[in-house]
Symmetry: C2
Subunit: 422 residues, 2 copies
Amino acid sequence: MSEPAAAPESEAASEPAAASEPAAVRGDDAALTARAADLDARDPLAKVRERFTLDEVTYLDGNSLGALPSGVGPRLLDVIEREWGSLRIRSWDESGWWDAPERIGDRVGALIGAASGQVVVGDSTSVNVFKAVVAAARLAGPERDEILVDEATFPTDGYIATAAARLTGHTVRPVPASAVADAVGPRTAVALVNHVDYRTGRLHDLPGTTAAAHAAGAVVVWDLCHSAGALPVGLDAHGVDLAVGCTYKFLNGGPGAPAYLYVRRDLQPRFDSPLPGWTSHADPFGMAAGYTPADGATRGRVGTPDILSMMALDAALDVWDGVAVEEVRAKSLALTDFFLDCVAALVPAGQVESVTPAAHAERGSQISLRHRDAGAVMAELIRRGVVGDHRRPDILRFGFTPLYTRYADALRAARVLGEVVR
Amino acid sequence: MSEPAAAPESEAASEPAAASEPAAVRGDDAALTARAADLDARDPLAKVRERFTLDEVTYLDGNSLGALPSGVGPRLLDVIEREWGSLRIRSWDESGWWDAPERIGDRVGALIGAASGQVVVGDSTSVNVFKAVVAAARLAGPERDEILVDEATFPTDGYIATAAARLTGHTVRPVPASAVADAVGPRTAVALVNHVDYRTGRLHDLPGTTAAAHAAGAVVVWDLCHSAGALPVGLDAHGVDLAVGCTYKFLNGGPGAPAYLYVRRDLQPRFDSPLPGWTSHADPFGMAAGYTPADGATRGRVGTPDILSMMALDAALDVWDGVAVEEVRAKSLALTDFFLDCVAALVPAGQVESVTPAAHAERGSQISLRHRDAGAVMAELIRRGVVGDHRRPDILRFGFTPLYTRYADALRAARVLGEVVR
């Protein structure tokens, strides 16, 4: 159990001196090294990396599990030892446990363009997809019988939408996310779309798709798992109806950290949850036999909040102090541009192909490269201390978290990838 | 409950207790003090208290939030700093994160009479009630249209059952838990019953009700929130179909710790979840568009498990090492008997009335006392360091956790209650 973190090759092994490398590659590497050093030196977010616990591993999997913000451990120990151990039930009031879903929801909301009072944290993304899809179908009214689902969606969204449709009597129709705007019609109750495709890293058109759905009278649910914390989402600005997302990727909330649900303020009085648990009641401690929903975002709550995971998320969000999502987006694009340049220069031609759009307007905060032997290549990358992940059958996925990823990390990943595939 | 000798009420309610106590009470207190000391000295579980972080407070609210097992803090810090901070995504395999819901589920199962492979931990109790009620309705078949719900249930069960019935087309009929066995009939699909009533502490007849439900062809779902960890449940022995429960009461898992779902082994192949999230898929990392359920208890999972809360629960369960639920039950009954004796001796006659059954076969691990001014009385008890809770309108609730509650605690609570109401 006390195995050390992925043992990277010695620095020497990843230096561009290998005899097998062509001279042109060595020259490119030197130029890219200088460019990385310059970019890192001028990076306005460079100091934010110090708020995380990191080591010599080149960690490019923050789009799966964000790195540890250093404040989480001390905060959780205090939550456990003092708030739980000493104050015990008093902490529901005195330590802000009861209101944590709304309070932390507001902090997440600030990062996705939602004014306060519209986001609650809790449950998993899957459970929130269920709440959102059923509630959206109810908002759309009984005369609409179709739920459109982004066909390349992270599978749980499709599974849950199908399960919801079975219960509500709707039909699920998968369409490409980019075609949702054209596919919505008078039968469409709900469109469930991923903002960024988990596999390809493609960023979909949230404003345009939302507007098209509204023009057709449909309700749109956005899954923000791969965009929240990586780029501006603008939920309020674009009039999004409902949204869900996880907090363990670019929000660094920890493994399986609670997800969240956004319900636009004017829809809240009509938000009719399929999971009306006691903490969403207008008077939860009245413990009445009949259900009366609370006002506001609280209506999206279900059961007793999982305080330890939630307070870890709360502490993790402190890394955002003084950071604007806009500058995160600027660095994300610069990082992924630079990584693509490094790959072009250092990986032998024909070995990998990017499936992530080159256009900034269509790119999230990851680069996905296709390689015929992606599983073995990623295993070897990880063995050499470059951690991305593999998505079957042939995708190498590299996530870029601007809060802690350096240009030097992007360079090193491309360099080691070149060594591995050469 | 035997009444103490009649004593004149003192008007000097704010004077030191000793001065206002009748001589008979002082004599009773001395005898009870000796009896508590003897009982504590002979308690085979006395040493288990050392596994918890406790202080001078008389904590009788473990049926709301269990006290802190001392091993949780160090374990969570290791999960955060090493497993998340250093191993990061490798911990899904190397630190046992991925299988935690089943592995910890088996540990919970051992405490509720479930052989391994039938319990998964995750989500809130409310979400698990939803899974269980919808799946039970599907198991019962389309010709049965009624869901019976224990009318005095903790409200979330009723809210969620009603929400589930709305989606599945069933009708909810509330009946007293003790009448469920007589109420089940050919229309009954599901009976959702609390093993112990949260308000009165009444223990319901799980074997008899289950047998009656089965004789009528219905599927029974038990809510074990107030029995798991306090008394033997015997899920397998009594042929229970489905069960749910929380882990933050007598299982001491921490605030909002993950709940669990039991699905009897032979029902698992037909368990048809309304929340088929990706982690319940037969091949979750295949990320196929179509859903194929996993075998076994895994089918009850939904989204990514909340690892921090889950690992806290895992550490908390270590306090059960070498402890049998049967000896916990024996001490629970002895503690609550003793508390009732102390109340009878030390609380002026007519002030409080127990609403918890005197018969052992009908008593959970709490004593609920009715008092016309329960809210103010409990506030004053808490101010004096005796922590129970108040359930509206007129119930003083005292929970007894045999792993850490001493007979001296029961005596002190009754003594201070006598002082407060005198």
